[in-house]
């Protein structure tokens, strides 16, 4: 065990002998407490020496362990690299046992550091392509599996794990409500404040209510809620299922005849699809309240005026559009979260990677799908 490795605990003596031989005498403790100091002192001196053979005398050693063996291996490595003969002298029984334990004779190359697998750019490109191809195949396979499970549930509703779905609805929906409400309120507040600065100059303060309502209900409400749900629940799905994967729980489910998709993924996907539109409605409401606060306090609008203007700006189609998007977003977030969880292999680090990947992939897909919705709406 490393501790104060005072020079009193060991001694290194180099003596030049006849026929260009170098005698190294190691004395005292050559172990975990002194190995670093001995090597620091000895190796630079070896570099300066011109010799044809090195003899290491171990007769005065009183304590020796595998750290001591490391010292000898480093001397041996120097000798081998310079094509110098190397010999140990006066080894006792304890030293012999340690040297046998560490397979001293087999260690030829000392300077081994951890070697990461090296590959050129084409090999890495090829590996990445193959990996992506497998990922796509897995995604399609998982999507198909989820569709089949949904089909089975439609035919036999009892196959749905109803209690699990309720629990997931609470985790994904009810538990997320406070953060969704707070962020949406602040979004409405900021949007109203920024737009009021411009609109007030033209005497058009009343339109603050329209801007907040339209932006939140048709666009920002579903997107902001989806991003929050992806960060909260998508990552949680990936981490939960990933942990089950590395602890063989999913294999156990499979071995017991359960479908892991039906057992784990469907309740999560269904729960997300049910609660997301409700969360989006709450988000819209709190954003409108945020806008109301600015309008009443800064723009001297009455509460009635603000709400009338908000209702005049909105059609049912806006709510339907926002709600439809939120259902698609929810399905994608839950699908990606579960998929990343099922893809975990290895250990704890991969669970973390899966959670990160679930969030990043979900957010990317949310933005992509929202763009597609925008294009569809422009041709509506």
């Amino acid at each position: 065990m490393p501790s104060a490795d005072s020079a009193e605990n060991y001694q290194v003596k180099l003596t030049a002998k006849e026929r260009n031989q170098l005698l190294i005498r190691l004395k005292g403790r050559v172990d975990v407490t002194t190995a670093a100091s001995i090597l620091k002192e000895l190796l630079p001196r070896l570099d300066q020496t011109d010799t044809t053979s090195i003899i290491v005398d171990l007769s005065k050693i009183i304590d020796f362990d595998d750290y001591g063996a490391l010292v000898l291996l480093q001397i041996k490595a120097k000798a081998t690299a310079s094509k110098i003969k190397f010999k140990l002298q006066h080894t006792n029984a304890q030293i012999e046992q340690i040297l046998n334990l560490v397979h001293f004779e087999e260690h030829q190359n000392c300077a081994l550091t951890p070697v990461k697998k090296q590959s050129n750019i084409f090999m890495r490109l090829g590996d990445a392509t193959i990996k992506q191809a497998f990922t796509i195949r897995y995604m399609i396979s998982f999507l198909g599996s989820a569709m089949i499970c949904f089909g089975n549930i439609l035919i036999k509703p009892r196959t749905l794990r109803f209690n699990d779905t309720i629990v997931q609805m609470q985790k994904t929906g009810v538990d997320a409500l406070p953060i969704v409400a707070l962020i949406s309120f602040l979004m409405g507040f900021i949007m109203a404040f920024v737009s009021s600065l411009q609109l007030r100059q033209f005497g058009a303060s009343i339109y603050v209510a329209s801007i907040v309502a339209l932006a939140m209900v048709s666009e920002l409400g579903p997107i902001m809620t989806a991003i929050i749900v992806a960060g909260r629940s998508g990552s949680a799905y990936a981490a939960e299922i990933g942990t089950m994967r590395i602890s063989d729980e999913i294999d156990a489910l499979f071995a017991m005849g359960f479908s892991p998709t039906l057992f784990l993924a469907i309740p999560r996907i269904l729960a997300a699809m049910i609660v997301m539109p409700v969360l989006v409605l709450c988000s819209d409401l709190f954003a409108i309240l945020g806008g109301l606060l600015i309008s009443v306090s800064m723009l001297d609008l009455s509460i009635n005026t603000y709400f009338n203007q908000t209702l005049n700006s909105l059609d049912l189609i806006e709510f339907t559009w926002g709600g439809s998007k939120s259902i698609v977003f929810a399905a994608v977030i839950a699908w990606v979260g579960c998929l990343r969880g099922f893809q975990v292999r290895g250990g704890a680090a991969q669970v973390g990677n899966a959670a990160t990947s679930a969030v990043v992939s979900s957010i990317f897909l949310i933005i992509l799908i929202d763009s597609i919705f925008a294009v569809i709406r422009s041709y509506w």
């Binding site: 065990m1 090597l39 595998d66 340690i98 334990l101 081994l112 951890p114 250990g347």
Partner: protein
């Protein structure tokens, strides 16, 4: 207590959740000794080990390692004592994101002044000692259960601890691999004089490796037998101990 007693457990009372598991357990471990802790499932073997290494704190009583109390988090010397011990966990507990050599090198890099290339060479030596030559750059997920135990043993030996705690080192392994690990434990004990505390159910390991055992019992919530395993097997009159050694269900 004498200078030869490197671990002393005094009147240890331990709980797991709300259940009282150990009630007034006392024993010692001598320097260089291999002590086995035996007992049926749920009798508190692992709980006892966790208290001995300071991972859990007792309700009352104390644990001394080389005269330093580890059962008290306020003791500033506790960390010093912790560096004198190595632990092989039941689940191996290797870091999954690191290769085997990185797992072994972690503590050496932290606590010694050796340059990094020598540390990795030393990690290679340690892995070679436990029969894992050539697996230095493998991840724990790429090796078998027996290999994980060996790698975890190499990691536990990283800083050449004075005391080694081994929680079921051969559990779940085939007889040949288990015998290999038993031989390795004995060899390390003989060559380095490391004191060892082994928790095990394996009768073969108990009889070949341990020099002294203590047997815990769930109902007694403490030690029901203590002594040389061969003598206990032959002469002990306690029915629980006899059933354990004779593999009787009752």
């Amino acid at each position: 207590m004498t200078d030869q007693h490197v671990i002393v457990v005094e009147n240890l009372v331990a709980q797991f959740g709300n259940d009282l598991i150990l009630d007034g357990v006392s024993f010692y471990v001598s320097k260089g000794e291999i002590l086995g802790i035996l007992g049926g499932s749920g009798c508190g073997k692992t709980t006892l080990m966790r208290h001995m290494v300071g991972l859990n704190l007792p309700i009352s009583g104390r644990v001394l390692i080389e005269n330093i109390e580890v059962s008290n988090n306020d003791n500033i010397d506790q960390r010093k004592a912790m560096r004198r011990i190595g632990i092989l966990f039941q689940s191996s507990a290797l870091f999954g994101s690191m290769t085997l050599s990185e797992n072994v090198a972690l503590a050496i890099l932290e606590y010694t002044d050796l340059p990094s290339h020598m540390v990795y060479h030393l990690a290679r030596i340690k892995l070679c000692m436990v029969g894992l030559k050539g697996y230095e750059n493998h991840l724990p997920s790429e090796i078998s259960g027996g290999m994980k135990k060996r790698a975890a043993l190499a990691r536990a030996l990283a800083l050449n601890p004075a005391i080694l705690f081994l929680d079921e080192p051969t559990a779940g392994l085939d007889p040949i691999t288990a015998a290999g690990i038993d031989d390795l434990i004995l060899y390390i004990n003989r060559t380095t004089g490391t004191t060892m505390v082994i928790i095990t159910h394996e009768l073969d390991s108990i009889l070949t490796v341990t020099q002294r055992i203590i047997m815990l019992d769930k109902h007694a919530k403490g030690i029901i037998a203590e002594g040389n395993p061969v003598d206990l097997k032959k002469n002990c009159t306690n029915p629980t101990v006899r059933n354990f050694f004779n593999r009787n269900a009752r």
